[in-house]
Amino acid sequence: MTTAKTSAARPTRPLQERAALPVLLGPSVLLIAVFVVAPAAYGIYLALTNTQLTGFAAQDPQFVGLENFRNLLGSTDFLASLGRTGEFVLWSAIIGQTVLGMLAALLLRQKWLRGKGLFGALMLLPMVVPEVVASLTWASVLSSEDGSTFNRLLGLFGSGAAAPLQEYPMTSVILINVWRGIAFAMIMFQAALEDVPDELLEASRMDGASALQVFRHITLPLIRGPVFLYLLLTTITTVGVFGLIYFLTQGGPGQETEITSVYIFQSAFKYSQIGLGSAASVILLILLTILGMTYARLAKVEV
């Protein structure tokens, strides 16, 4: 970290008023400890109990050890939700956002291309609007009514009306999440591409390499680190997507879009199984940690 380096270089001065430190840092530490760290720790404890929101177990929760975990790992509902999370992350984040974001970033590097400023600003729109607005917008776009945006587009190709959110729910939410995430990928890749020297690209083009070859063998290896960092970040964010799906489908129809974040919410707040929901959170976090470490290994960055 650059910041750490500069502070180490500065000679440590004898600071008077050492007593001011708790006053300065105290509020931040307290807030983070109570509202960020404590819930995380409390969640691990809850996962080992049969706590419920209502009913008998709400009055007197019992310590049940690993029973919640046993139940979850034997539950087809939960395992299916994990599978759907994987599908959601793979198609929307790792494939959709990455490919389209990279294309957008490459376009923004073309010097001769006119209208890049407008293009860049438009690409940012889906990312900066609040989650609920994004969901509402797509609810209308994909509405089953004849005049919805999507059905009008279908009409241009002479096709009849469709109800994508009911007929292809998973594909729909994946598409929507791609839409929302392109901008972040674009920004990350744009910053990474700035570090690729133009002379190198030009030289390889002179040598007769095609644009695709240049990208595959010159550009991509050079931005390997940022790409894996992006994959790590987007995987974490995408696993945590909740509002978009809950707003549009609430996990349905049936359970077709019930990814694990929705499963956790439903089991805790709809079926009042706090213990079970917490255990599901713990399992999700463990899987996420393993995945994160794999990325870090692949990117050859030391953690």
Binding site: T3, R10, L31, F35, V133, L284
Partner: protein, 294 residues
């Protein structure tokens, strides 16, 4: 955006220059790239057509079409029953949480930047790591915790949670900004008789502006747009922010007032949009740039 994409003697010139034999191919390639740009741009913008058109449509539905132009939807949003309350709630919670976040953030970041104490770096990395946990994974425990300390279903509880959630980012951002302010300036102020806190007020606060702007914007946008936390923590409709209000009126089947809903969406987008326009340059330069490079 345009400023970040300079100096490119690039592929196009190389293509055109090095391969004079195939100008047609080069033109086709350029045309394809333009087509791709237009398609991507449309993909990002076209979904908003409905919001824009229906918000000013007298008889809007979930469909797109030419509106019967009116501002009635906005008038109804700001005068009808519960909707002004939603807006007010969002404003109260977002401003209070941002203010609390920045106040704690400046002091904390100052300590992290200027003091050397044991566990400082561990603390910095720990708060960054804990931010990585997806919110749905801790929301269940957070809810129960808030019930236990009787802060659920209240402004105060929500403000505390939102301010804390954004605090790690604020601390990191502001620490970076304060690191860049020469220590000598402060020493000079001390020699002039300022106390430590006096020097913070006179030297640090005026110079920490850009970082503060970026932190303010990131925090405000995060709180303003948050859906999950208020959904879980608030039960009284009196306290609902816009995000929950929009969700509730959308899921009230059969009686959805699409015009007002679209108008609400526009109103909901306005404050972040204004803030974004004001602070865009700061954000691009200090937060994203810095975060990515480090």
């Amino acid at each position: 955006m345009a400023a970040t994409t300079t100096t490119e003697p690039g592929k196009a010139t190389a293509t055109v220059g090095s391969r004079p034999r195939r100008p047609a191919w080069a033109i086709l390639q350029q045309a394809l790239q333009y087509a791709l740009m237009v398609l991507l741009g449309l993909f990002c913008v076209v979904p908003f057509a409905w919001v824009a058109l229906t918000a000013v449509d007298a008889d809007g539905g979930p469909t797109v079409g030419l509106p019967a132009f009116t501002f009635d939807n906005f008038v109804r949003f700001f005068t009808d029953g519960a909707t002004p309350r939603l807006f007010l709630n969002s404003v109260i919670v977002s401003f209070a949480a941002t203010a609390l976040n920045l106040a704690c953030g400046v002091l904390g970041a100052y300590a992290l930047s200027r003091y050397r104490f044991r566990g400082r770096r561990t603390f910095m990395f720990a708060i960054l790591l804990i931010r990585v946990i997806p919110p749905p994974a801790t929301i269940v425990a957070l809810y129960l915790l808030m019930v236990k300390i009787q802060l659920d279903d209240s402004y105060f509880g929500l403000i505390l949670v939102e301010a804390s959630a954004a605090l790690p980012i604020t601390l990191w951002l502001l620490k970076g900004t304060i690191d860049a302010i020469p220590f000598e300036l402060e020493e000079a102020a001390w020699l002039d008789g300022s106390s430590r806190f006096g020097a913070i007020g006179r030297i640090i606060l005026p110079l920490v502006g850009p970082g503060l702007g970026a932190a303010a914007m990131l925090t405000f946008m995060a709180v303003w747009g948050d859906f999950l936390t208020p959904l879980v923590l608030l039960q009284s409709p009196d306290l609902y922010p816009l995000s929950i209000g929009l969700f509730r009126s959308f899921t009230a089947f059969n009686q959805v007032d699409w015009g007002v809903l679209a108008a609400s969406a526009v109103v909901y987008m306005a404050p972040p949009a204004v803030l974004y326009l004001f602070l865009r340059r700061h954000l691009m330069r200090s937060s994203l740039g810095g975060a990515i490079k480090s």
